[in-house]
Symmetry: C2
Subunit: 214 residues, 2 copies
């Protein structure tokens, strides 16, 4: 099994934190995204969606999509189970992961891609096009993120992590959502006390791949 | 177990088609979304994200998010397994479902919510706000959808469904992506031959809840 990845990419870091929480070491192949290697062979045929990370199984099967990769590894390898231990836990954790990802992480990812000059010509993940950066999409990402923060702060007053006392993949997604929003300089301590506590809790984990960069 | 739902909603129809494919009958409670019942009790406390559908388990646990609900039901009930039969199948189907959902279904859902007058004041799912409808988000949804169509047409020249010969939850997501794009009047037969064949294949299934409305 080999993980094709590019260390600085947001989704590569999500998988990296997941691997550290699972105590897994995988063989890695670095693909230089910035030099457009994903659009060249053999990578273009392996993942026609031209994104990292992707996982190659021993039989040649390719699994793309960060969460699909992490879920597969969680199913294949032992504790801690970061997607839950039984069907009910799995459903609740999947629900929380989706809420964080669809209402926070992804809208902010689109904000960043539509704002920073680095992503000009690369606005849609895995593409090289002349699609314009859109100020309205930047703004919508921030609006959706704030709606999400208002919704999760009360939940975190009663729960250490999104799934009660158990750290899960949903918290990892949360961590990378915060990372995308650093630029917004939100005063969590003042405005979202419970989220602030949760955010610090996750950042302080030894698995945090950004710990040395802060 | 009870499913709280509102028959005409896009995500309610996704779960309905899934239930029909699984031959499952669930007790259903209709919540009138158009009369803002989701913002009233007991529904607001059951799902503070104010969306249908959501599932109440016998112990009172609430599962929201269409895919989390469907995955739970797939795990709990026997064949056909629409999320796959083993870890590898599950990973591939999850990957396809995410590609279709994140690159097609959701961008188009945001297009529709930012375009039609029906969604004024309800632009972000599960909210009542004065956030403006954004023409740039309408356009971006269509652009992302066309990128996805270009990517999946070759795959469907070699595969009956997204996961080879096996119908899966990813095909159901595809069906509802097409439903959101009807308004665009894309000539699939002319421009995307393989997608056209796949689209007809799914539409003709007895489980299609829109079959009588077409």
């Amino acid at each position: 099994m080999k993980l094709y990845t590019f260390a600085p990419a947001a989704n590569a870091l999500r998988v990296e934190m997941f691997l550290r929480e699972k105590n897994l070491e995988l063989e890695k192949v670095s693909v230089n995204v910035r030099e457009d290697e994903l659009f060249k062979e053999p990578f273009n045929s392996m993942n026609p969606f031209n994104c990292v990370p992707f996982l190659e199984l021993n039989d040649g099967t390719i699994i793309t999509e960060t969460i699909s990769i992490c879920r597969y590894l969680d199913d294949q390898f032992e504790s801690p189970k970061l997607f839950g231990n039984d069907n009910k836990e799995q459903a609740i954790i999947d629900m929380w992961n989706r809420r964080i990802e669809l209402d926070g992480f992804l809208p902010l990812l689109h904000s960043v891609r539509n704002k920073t000059s680095f992503f000009k010509g690369k606005v849609v993940p895995g593409t090289r096009t002349n699609i314009n950066q859109s100020p309205e999409i930047v703004e919508r990402g921030i609006e959706m993120y704030k709606i999400l923060l208002d919704r999760i702060d009360p939940h975190l007053s009663k729960n250490k992590f999104l799934f009660g006392d158990k750290f899960s993949v949903a918290d990892i997604t949360g961590h990378f959502m915060f990372n995308l929003s650093n630029i917004l300089k939100i005063d969590f301590e003042q405005n979202y006390k419970n989220i602030y506590r949760w955010k610090l809790e996750i950042e302080s984990r030894p698995s945090n791949p950004m710990a040395n960069n802060i």
